[in-house]
Symmetry: D2
Subunit: 301 residues, 4 copies
Amino acid sequence: MTDIHALPPTMGRLSLGKVGICGIRKPLVIQRPDRTHTLSAGFEVYVDLPALRKGSDLSRNAQVLAEVIDETVHRPVRSVEAACLDISRELLIRHPYAREAEVRVEAEYFRPRGIREDRVSLENFTLLGGAWARRTPSGTEVRQSVGAEAIGMTACPCAMETCRARLEEEFPALKDPAFRDLPIITHNQRNRSRLRLTLEEHTEVEADDLLDILEGAQSSPTYAILKRGDEGQVVLDAHRRPRFVEDVVRAILSLLVERLPRLPDATDVEVATRSEESIHKYDVRAEHRSTLGALRRELAS
Amino acid sequence: MTDIHALPPTMGRLSLGKVGICGIRKPLVIQRPDRTHTLSAGFEVYVDLPALRKGSDLSRNAQVLAEVIDETVHRPVRSVEAACLDISRELLIRHPYAREAEVRVEAEYFRPRGIREDRVSLENFTLLGGAWARRTPSGTEVRQSVGAEAIGMTACPCAMETCRARLEEEFPALKDPAFRDLPIITHNQRNRSRLRLTLEEHTEVEADDLLDILEGAQSSPTYAILKRGDEGQVVLDAHRRPRFVEDVVRAILSLLVERLPRLPDATDVEVATRSEESIHKYDVRAEHRSTLGALRRELAS
Amino acid sequence: MTDIHALPPTMGRLSLGKVGICGIRKPLVIQRPDRTHTLSAGFEVYVDLPALRKGSDLSRNAQVLAEVIDETVHRPVRSVEAACLDISRELLIRHPYAREAEVRVEAEYFRPRGIREDRVSLENFTLLGGAWARRTPSGTEVRQSVGAEAIGMTACPCAMETCRARLEEEFPALKDPAFRDLPIITHNQRNRSRLRLTLEEHTEVEADDLLDILEGAQSSPTYAILKRGDEGQVVLDAHRRPRFVEDVVRAILSLLVERLPRLPDATDVEVATRSEESIHKYDVRAEHRSTLGALRRELAS
Amino acid sequence: MTDIHALPPTMGRLSLGKVGICGIRKPLVIQRPDRTHTLSAGFEVYVDLPALRKGSDLSRNAQVLAEVIDETVHRPVRSVEAACLDISRELLIRHPYAREAEVRVEAEYFRPRGIREDRVSLENFTLLGGAWARRTPSGTEVRQSVGAEAIGMTACPCAMETCRARLEEEFPALKDPAFRDLPIITHNQRNRSRLRLTLEEHTEVEADDLLDILEGAQSSPTYAILKRGDEGQVVLDAHRRPRFVEDVVRAILSLLVERLPRLPDATDVEVATRSEESIHKYDVRAEHRSTLGALRRELAS
């Protein structure tokens, strides 16, 4: 029987950048310092295709994924990105005609969070992982990406000032210096922030550290369980740290530079944040791409 | 050639409640008092199926939809629900074996909104329409549904009181009666509210009236264009009208009873509201189903 | 400090059907005969609200959920619905003013599937659970729901006959009786089917049995790993079992009656199926709601 | 009152790549040769932010959008991308501190489609537009993007050959040369393909030409209205033109080179296609990015 995939292309001799499968779901078990986590994960798995071949053997992508990921149910891996690196390497072995392989994963991750010790519960975050393998004359080069997304809260510093001015007109006593630090009403809203680093293979980054950076950059983290007094605390915290999306991105980048000083300058950094504005029907968004080296230089200047 | 649909069923002689098509998109042109609106609409179109027939002739659903809806590009209809009524009646003609037909539509609707006259722009809302036709010994009975969804804002009355107590501790001067009406910080967020009425054919309901009810029930409407002073105004308005989701549903129901006094008691009423909480990763929701008659009695008691 | 929730309503003295939280995510660990499964689950948790109370104490919903669900990480429950029953009962204790409580959950579930033993991998399905608790003079009444969704494949029996007629014109030799069972081309597509049973507390239903019914009713199950020969097998299987969405619903109902004979007549049954038609931009859908008793009578008649 | 946005940044002196609004919805009216189209469109509008400024004046983005897009209700523009170009230029005027502006739009577009003249109805497609403006010493440089997405159908050439082999074993008479062109069963499914070109301002590209290329590259277009005979025709057409996702991308690229010979070599080309596999629970995807010049050279080699 003819191997249709190995035939020359019928629609034009063109090489293709990416061919693969996406939206394939798997349970992925990782071993973290605290405990074993079973993540529900969605994968994308691609290789490139040379101009002289009609098709890519896509069943191999599903098979490699099953071999590496299903196996984590019995033998957990140490991280999402470690699993991706294994897959990307194996893809180049199974697709001998390919020069590049790419794997991406987005996984739901639960960690214990609470505004007080007796309010702790498991809350949802997202882990992002990836790997790229590239066949070169001197062997296979790989890169990995480690990332995370956290939902938190932003309170707008601009509307706060406008409201302060309006309220001082209506309540002149507010101008008293005693009220200098009184938190003033503003709009606040759900914010989704994500950070992704792309770097060499043997550099380890803890996803939990990225999540801490993300939550530390928002006006306040959010929590599942908030009794009455706690709600007030979160609201106060957020209004004492009002932040634009611009502030959130800069805070993420600054915290990254400060807290992960050992990461190499060549690390690619992507940050995106989105505030689901309470006063608008649309969202406000900021993003930035750079390298850690460029960020360090800009912050030092 | 055999008409497969007309054969007896092969998998069990069972009548089925609904068979049809969904997710079919159309432009729908309606003529409103102010101007002609072209809506982007998604339809669901069903009939029931008797136990003795294998299949429903689904191409007729797409055809009726094309005949009625595509035609509105040339001859606009007066409302979303008027188009649904036409379709539901025609479905019973084209499916002689069916006893019931159902049509539902959800359409994006733009209306001019602004916090001031010179800030007016077109903002997005949703219109909901529907119709049910039923073959009876005395002819075809129909019912229609008219509904709408509006995005607005809620500010939480409970966190406001907690914050007031906290702030009065920190700033004792706030207890001065002069500050009785000072709006206090709280969490606020995007809210989506919807209202749907199901009623007899010849009762007309203006979707714009429903949208006004929805926006009137939230802590504040939201706007696309807000210059700095306007932002402050929206924030102030919302904080002077803090509302739980429970308040929003009750306000919608009360405004409905008050503003549409001519609607019959037999009108079915469905309200649902969802606040995308800024202090949580999850949403808060309230809903209620009743008849206008029952609501009138409960409010009068 | 005033308990705002306990105040009388400000927007109209109306009782509300449902108030609660939705979109809250949790890991849920269940103990099945084969192994322990960690599911990624989304919950909705509601109670009703009497006319004389302004708000529902929503933090209790999140707290009950944390107590019952987070605990499953250490002590797995036997099923999704068992967890829901516990939550629904506890809700009526924590909300003394409520008469009814409702919990719904939708969880991603991975089970080993393969067209052959050496092709087995973990594939994604959905489990649906629910519970309703109601305060009555004689104590608390509960009902539970057990459900599942499976993605499979349908091949259209009608287009197959049309194509047979067309091909017999072009290739008259096809009319030879030797080709009577030759599978003929038709359109085939991804199908999503779901089945939900609502019944008394102590009746156990295995979700895996429901998934088997769903996959048994489609033209063919689908698989993650299909080497070349396997692909042909799935295609052949599906074309030898062409099915309308109407056939799928009737097959689910018939298999349910046949395979679960001990379930009581009072069991509520909901089936819905959706084929993402390859020849259309829209989907085709069938659904039916009934009781097991009514289905048994209709099938026996 | 202090202009908070104009203050120096509080969280780190870092320039940011993109700050703006997204998910803002508008009706956009375009004048095409055939008729006036009202599209339901979603916009993203960004500018960059220098390191010395805390915030971007986002209300200006909403205002420019309202001025340019709302106005099309009265005075239609000639294309989606023409509107984007106007917005991108205006953004640089309103944000004097910005060096770059970006606008993206995705709009639902209905065009008459039918397998025969008496089956024509309005079917949904997507138009993609964009513009980038950049302040340079010699003035403002702009680029525009024009794109489209079409839903169609793919039939798998590989499973077809496997099935042919299997069927020839079971029905040896099929090996007769008379059956050489008999279309054989395979899996087929919904396919979504998109093509986007980025190029200089004054080069005009008709979005309808892009849609024709997309539909011409799939195994078959799909249609809303298909009576029984038509269904057979679509199935036959698709099975006579079986295509992998790899084939679809190459066909799009080849048709683009062939049909739009006047476009400059420097045109950036992005193609992506996704088949929602009927035999899998996941999708298969191919994509390619290149320039028209590189494609022309590769095809000519």
